[in-house]
């Protein structure tokens, strides 16, 4: 079990080296075992983030958008290491500004070459990158129905 955890950490960190700078146009992030506890099996796992041009900060000083993007870099790195058969992301882009949405969509397109991605979003720019659109409406109040949606 010890080696498996060690391997997973190394594997995710290798992916983070590529994925994090793609999302933030620079900077770096890595997972590390916490200092406390003697045996590897008692330790927790820290996530350290360094944003381009900013001092290394603890995660709680990050802004709303920076937190969301850092979290996505971790989720995507785990994904590249062990692609789950499909993934469902519910409005994970809500806090992102225009340019971060573009970088997010670009990376999502790369992931979707190997895995199935299902995305719930309100953002028209992110919708455009989808290959298939499912529209849900409530014409009759309280009753959800599917409609086919055309991208203008």
């Amino acid at each position: 079990c010890r080696t498996r955890l060690r391997e997973a950490l190394d594997g995710i960190n290798r992916q983070l080296e590529r994925v994090f700078p793609l999302l933030f146009e620079g900077g770096s992030a890595k997972l590390d075992l916490t200092k406390e506890g003697s045996d590897i099996l008692e330790k927790g796992i820290e996530f350290m983030v360094k944003l381009p041009g900013k001092a290394v900060r603890s995660l709680h000083l990050l802004s709303g958008g920076e937190k969301a993007l850092s979290a996505l870099s971790l989720i995507f790195s785990i994904f590249f290491l062990k692609p789950a058969p499909f993934c469902v992301l519910d409005e994970v882009d809500a806090a992102l500004d225009e340019s971060n949405c573009v970088r997010f969509s670009r990376l999502l397109t790369e992931i979707s070459k190997r895995s199935q991605v299902i995305l719930i979003t309100h953002n028209p720019r992110v919708m455009e990158t989808a290959h298939r659109l499912f529209g849900v409406t409530m014409e009759e109040k309280g009753v959800s129905k599917l409609v086919s949606v055309r991208l203008e």
Partner: protein, 164 residues
């Protein structure tokens, strides 16, 4: 395993049988106004994968996932089916597998694989180690994305172990 088709009936805001067929590759986007039922689709996926906690499905009791309308319109049960496409598999194995979960208003729950009645354990076993178990990193709920950064070191360890 890929998600080929999802069918909901009587689950949350979907009283009538509704079916989504997903392309096996690429990005599918689910769009629509506030409150139309988008997140209910993710709840349906978690439910059919065996989720046992009502709270994770934004309900107080599991019975609340069964459709109940404004006009007193009720349905007798909630049912979600998911058709998964296995990749690779040995020659003899079927390419597709269908998992179904049903809950009756009286409280009786049924689980089926390819139409045959099974126990919850069998469904949980099916999804173990594939990363699609209900608590996996592959399903990210609305408003929860920053949880991956805000969680404590020990919770993060559980997440990483699931991926290991």
């Amino acid at each position: 395993m890929r998600l080929k088709r999802l069918t909901v009936k009587g689950f949350k805001s979907f009283p009538d049988r509704t079916s989504l067929t997903f392309p096996l590759q690429g990005i599918s986007a689910i769009v629509g106004p506030n409150g139309c039922g988008k997140s209910n689709i993710l709840d349906a996926i978690r439910w059919v994968l065996g989720e046992q906690s009502p709270k994770i499905l934004r309900a107080r009791s599991m019975e609340e996932v069964i459709y109940s309308g404004p006009n007193g319109r009720q349905v007798g049960y909630a049912e979600v089916s998911i058709v998964l496409e296995r990749e690779g598999g040995t020659e003899g194995e079927k390419k597709e597998i269908e998992v179904t979960r049903r809950l009756y208003r009286r409280g009786e729950a049924k689980y089926l694989i390819d139409g045959k009645l099974v126990r919850l354990k069998d469904i949980l076993y099916l999804f173990m180690d594939t990363g699609t178990g209900t608590r996996a990193y592959a399903l990210v709920d609305q408003g929860q994305v920053t949880r991956f950064v805000e969680m404590g070191p020990h919770e993060r360890r559980l997440l990483i172990e699931e991926a290991a």
